[in-house]
C-alpha cells in the first residue's frame, strides 16, 4: 500500500513539475520529484529509489531544454547515495531529514550543471543564485512534504508524535527501594 502511495506521489510530483512554472516562475525552484526520490531512498528501498530517480529524471528531461538523461543521471546517483546513507545511519525522524534533502538538492544541481558543462551545453543562468534558490525552495517544500507523507503512510500515522523528533536521552531512575533504605 505504501509502495502504491509513493508511486502516486512520484507521478503527481512529475506532473506538477511540468506545469507549476506556467503558474508562477519561483515554483520552478522547488524540485518536487527529487523530494519524493529522497523520501523513497530514506525508506531503505534502494531498488525502488534508483528506479524512481531514473524514471522521474527522464520525464523531466523530456520537456526540458537541457540534455536528455542529465536529470536521470543526477537523480539516480542521489537516490543511491541517500539509500546507502539511510542503510548506515538512522534517519527516521523529520529533523534529520532536513540536512539530507538540502544536501541532495545541492548535489543534484552540481551534478546536473557539471554534466552539461562536460558535454558543452552550459546553461546560461547565474549558477550560485540558481543553486541557492533551489536549495532553499526544495528544502522548505521537502520538509513540509515529508511531514505530510509521514502522516499519510498507514503505519507511520499510528506512531506517537514524539517519535518524529529525535528521542531525548532519558536518565535512569534510581531504585526506589534502595532510596527508601
Amino acid at each position: 500500500m505504501d509502495n502504491l502511495k509513493l508511486t502516486i506521489a512520484l507521478i503527481v510530483s512529475v506532473f506538477l513539475q511540468w506545469t507549476l512554472r506556467n503558474i508562477a516562475e519561483p515554483l520552478a525552484y522547488v524540485d518536487l520529484p527529487l523530494i519524493i526520490i529522497v523520501y523513497a531512498a530514506l525508506q531503505r528501498d534502494a531498488l525502488k529509489a534508483v528506479l524512481f530517480g531514473s524514471i522521474a529524471g527522464l520525464a523531466i528531461d523530456a520537456l526540458s531544454g537541457g540534455l536528455l538523461g542529465a536529470n536521470g543521471f543526477s537523480k539516480t546517483l542521489i537516490a543511491f547515495i541517500v539509500s546507502e546513507l539511510a542503510r548506515r545511519v538512522y534517519m527516521d525522524n523529520l529533523l534529520l531529514r532536513i540536512p539530507v534533502i538540502a544536501g541532495a538538492s545541492l548535489l543534484d544541481d552540481l551534478v546536473y550543471y557539471g554534466l552539461h558543462r562536460l558535454l558543452g551545453q552550459e546553461p546560461n543562468v547565474p549558477i550560485a543564485a540558481t543553486i541557492s534558490y533551489t536549495l532553499i525552495g526544495t528544502t522548505i517544500a521537502g520538509t513540509l512534504i515529508y511531514f505530510l507523507l509521514d502522516l499519510s503512510m498507514a503505519q507511520r500515522s499510528r506512531k506517537p508524535r514524539r517519535e518524529m523528533f529525535p528521542a531525548r536521552r532519558q536518565t535512569r531512575r534510581r531504585n526506589p527501594i534502595r532510596l527508601g533504605k
Binding site: 506532473f15 513539475q17 511540468w18 506545469t19 512554472r21 506556467n22 503558474i23 516562475e25 520552478a28 525552484y29 528501498d45 534502494a46 531498488l47 534508483v50 528506479l51 530517480g53 531514473s54 529524471g57 527522464l58 520525464a59 523531466i60 528531461d61 523530456a62 520537456l63 526540458s64 531544454g65 537541457g66 540534455l67 536528455l68 538523461g69 542529465a70 536529470n71 536521470g72 543521471f73 539516480t76 546517483l77 543511491f80 539509500s83 542503510r87 546536473y112 550543471y113 554534466l115 552539461h116 558535454l119 558543452g120 551545453q121 552550459e122 546553461p123 546560461n124 543562468v125 547565474p126 540558481t130 534558490y133 533551489t134
Partner: protein
Amino acid sequence: MVERSQKEVWRLTPWLVILLLLANFVLMAFDAREIGSGRRVIRVWGQTGADFVQSPVTTLTTSLSGYFGSIANLRSAQTENDDLKQKVQELQIEIKGKEELTAENERLKALLDLKDKSKIGVLPARIIGRDPSIWFDSSIINKGSLNGVKLNMPVVTNGGLVGRVTAVGPLTSQIDLITRDKSGVGGVVGEIGNSNALGVVSGTSKRDLVEMRYVSGSVEVKPGQMVYTTGQDGIYPAGLRIGEIVDVITGTATTPHRIFIRPAAGLDSMREVAVLLYEPPVKSEFEQKLPNATKAEKK
C-alpha cells in the same frame, strides 16, 4: 510477486545503478550530438504525452488568472476608457494621412511592376509549458508537425523575435528562446542596407538581456537604437525586431563593440506566439560546396 531479501537487494542495487547511470550518460551524449538535427525522438514523444496534462492545466490557470485579472482591472477601466477615446480620435486623423500614402505607394509599385514576394505564413500558437527545470528557458507550444511546423522555424510575438523551433512532435513543438547562449541570430543595428553594424546576437547569463558580438569598433552605436535580423543566418527572415540597445562597451579600431540588448518580445510574460512558416532560401550549389557550409551527411 518475487520477494527479495534485503541482502539480495543490497547486492543487486550497485549493478542496477551502474547500468542506469551508463544508460543515462549514453542518452546524454547522443542528445548532445543530435541537438541541432531534430532527430530527438524520445523528447518529441515525451512532449506529446505531456501535452495531455499540460494543455488542460494551462487552460485552467490562464482562465482563472484572466478572471481575477479582469476583476482587478475594473477599477482602472474608466480612466483607461477616457484615454482610449482620445487615442481613437488621434488615430483616425493619422489613418486618413496614411490612406493617402498607401494609395501613393500602390500607384508607385504598379508603376515599377514590383510584386510582394516577402509574404510569410503565420501560425498562431499558445504556450502550454515552460521548461520544468530552472536551468533552461525553452517553452512548449501547442502546434506541431500536423499543423505545418518544421524544425528551425522562427517564432515571434507582436513585440519581436522570440526564438526558433528546436524539436517538433505531431501535436507540440519545443522552442528555444534567443536568450539561450547557443542561439545565434544574425543582427544589424538600425535599418538594413543603411547600417554596417552587423553582428551575432546570443544569450547572456541574464534572462532579460542578449549580447551582440563582432560589431566593428569603428561603427558608431548608441543605446536606444533598435536591432533587427539580417536574414543572413539561414534561419530567420530579415527585418524582425530583436530588441533595443541598452548598453554598449565601446570597442576600438581593432576590437569589436560589446552591445547589450533588451529583447523586444516580452519573453517572461508571453502566452501566445506565432510561428513563421518560413523556410530559408536554398543555398546555391557553389555555396553548398564551401567547407563548413553545411554539416556533412552521415554515411
